[in-house]
Amino acid sequence: MKTETHSVEDLANREYKYGFVSDIESESVPPGLDENVIRLISKKKNEPEFLLNWRLKAYRHWLTMKEPAWANVHYPPVDYQSIIYYSAPKTHAGPTSLADVDPELLKTYEKLGIPLSERAALAGIAVDAVFDSVSVATTFKDKLKSLGIIFGSFSEAVQEHPELVEKYLGSVVPTTDNFFAALNSAVFTDGSFCYVPKGVRCPMELSTYFRINAAKTGQFERTLIIADAGAHVSYLEGCTAPMRDENQLHAAVVELIAHDDATIKYSTVQNWYPGDKNGKGGIYNFVTKRGKCAGFRSKISWTQVETGSSITWKYPSCILQGDESVGEFYSVALTNNRQQADTGTKMIHIGKNTRSTIVSKGISAGHGQNTYRGAVKVLKGATGARNYSQCDSMLLGDTCGAHTFPYIDVANNTATVEHEASTSKIGEDQIFYFQQRGISKEDAVNMIVNGFCKEVFRELPMEFAVEAQKLLGVSLEGSVG
């Protein structure tokens, strides 16, 4: 964010990406990608030389790569030359008041309990100030600054702390990592950056003011979070409210680095547009998220609630490099209608006495297909490593599917690896039991599903957990006859 005023405008205009300034308003780039487009993006963003070179290297490698086909998802091929990789803000063509917004969307906000002040912003209404968060945001920023915490947009960090960006960018997810990560590295336009200095405990959930801003994350988002020795930070991404989004393909990259005794907790609740009943439209969410527990006794914890993409392809992972470091992954993935999810995690045990926990809850309804794909890797030197994995699937109806692909690869015989899995179905007799006690069918399914996900919701920050529960209910609507 250049200025706080911009952030409000950003909210009002979905295609406006923060970090851009108004003098580029008239410019636009034709669809397609080549080195000139990348040079232009880098120039517009006034990036240092190293970053341009980094992007170009990524691009050149990307050209040699093939889109992965191993995931258990099906979609028509994406035409990467038809995407506009750099778009200047356009005249706003969205709704101008809540009265113009799709009543279904408003109903959903209502059900989710989204504060009135935020609804307009989420629906993409062009008003000068639809909510009063500017002053709040400033207060938060000042407080963080006084603690030495750097938190803001990625573009801002590139300008103000290029040495940190250069040091850490790509250190967890290299440009060559995979097809989508390489593409993201070449063309990302913005994202978030956070650095928590030695010994500092971040006093608030990062995003308490960021929530609305998150609604306009770009198509190729880049997030980098560093917790220095002894630091502690909890970061919240996403929003329970469905968002208007013109971009079908999202290929984000998130990198986390935790030094000695540092803890990073990263929570995601994603509710993008899942497509209609027949699977038309909807977001392709192809994301690379990885954390490196670089230091002794460091800890990285991922919690995700995925309900809103047409296709989800993501595996938030932990590289447990530091001795005694800890990795956690808690996930709820829900697929309804024609949604497909192929999600899970990788826990790579390198250091001694490293520990990891995986709890995955997959819910399938309608024609949804839900795949858990996880890898637990214990390398030679990881003496005393421990992993516990639990993968539970729940089926609603008989036209959906649940799949589990756990990979376990152990190269040290002192390691302990446990894997538990279960599949259950909501029975007609269970629903009748609820109904007989006066509880409607929909509430019954809600209660059962929320009970099923309890272990994961427990990991979410309180407020978010409540919203996530409601979100599951809304996402499952119409899934029981």
């Binding site: 109904q435 007989q436 006690r437 006066g438 509880i439 009970g451």
Partner: protein
Amino acid sequence: MLKIENLHATVNGREILKGIDLTVNAGEVHAIMGPNGSGKSTLAQVLAGRETYTITDGSIVLDGKDLSGMQPEDRAREGVFLAFQYPVEIPGVGNVYFLKAALNAIRKHRGLDDLDAIDFLAYVREKMKIVEMDESFLNRSVNEGFSGGEKKRNEIFQMMVLDPKLAILDETDSGLDIDALKIVANGVNAMRSPKRAIVVVTHYQRLLDYIVPDHVHVLADGRIVRSGDRSLALELEKKGYSWIEEEIAR
């Protein structure tokens, strides 16, 4: 209170109830007895609105309202309670949470405010004592890992909390030892009230030693073939169901 007229019901096209007529007045306890496969449990499920059964004819009227077209949850809110023969386990859903949702759904229907957590707990604790349930039970998942006796006690406990107009007990005595049977019967007797009708479905007379009915009906092949007072149940115990079946055949 409850008036059933010419009730016919089928499952998968097969007729199970073949014209039931039954009137249960407020304050009364009626026992429905009969051999296996006579339609006793079907009658209980049909009254509660289970979708696997189709009502093909007749009516079920509770307190002046026809239930036959209503969803099961609406019947429950109107005051129908079924104590299940085989209460289902619901993993992950806590007893307190479940019961509070049920009670508040019913209260809402009656135009009452939700009970808050504190009032709810106080209310529930008082009922728990009657069925001699331990408080730790509240934090467990609904029926999960319960013994047979605990499940049945839980049904009676829920009935007390939800305070129905019509309580239907489906084979509540099955699988209970004598001590548990007494506790359950105590619970039901505590629920006897001039404002409530109770229907006890049972195969054995034994339960009726503890819950003494005002009327006894014998169901055979989907019809009520004999009605009487408590002595009918005792006679059945002595002579067995074949006696009735023979008598009908004659």
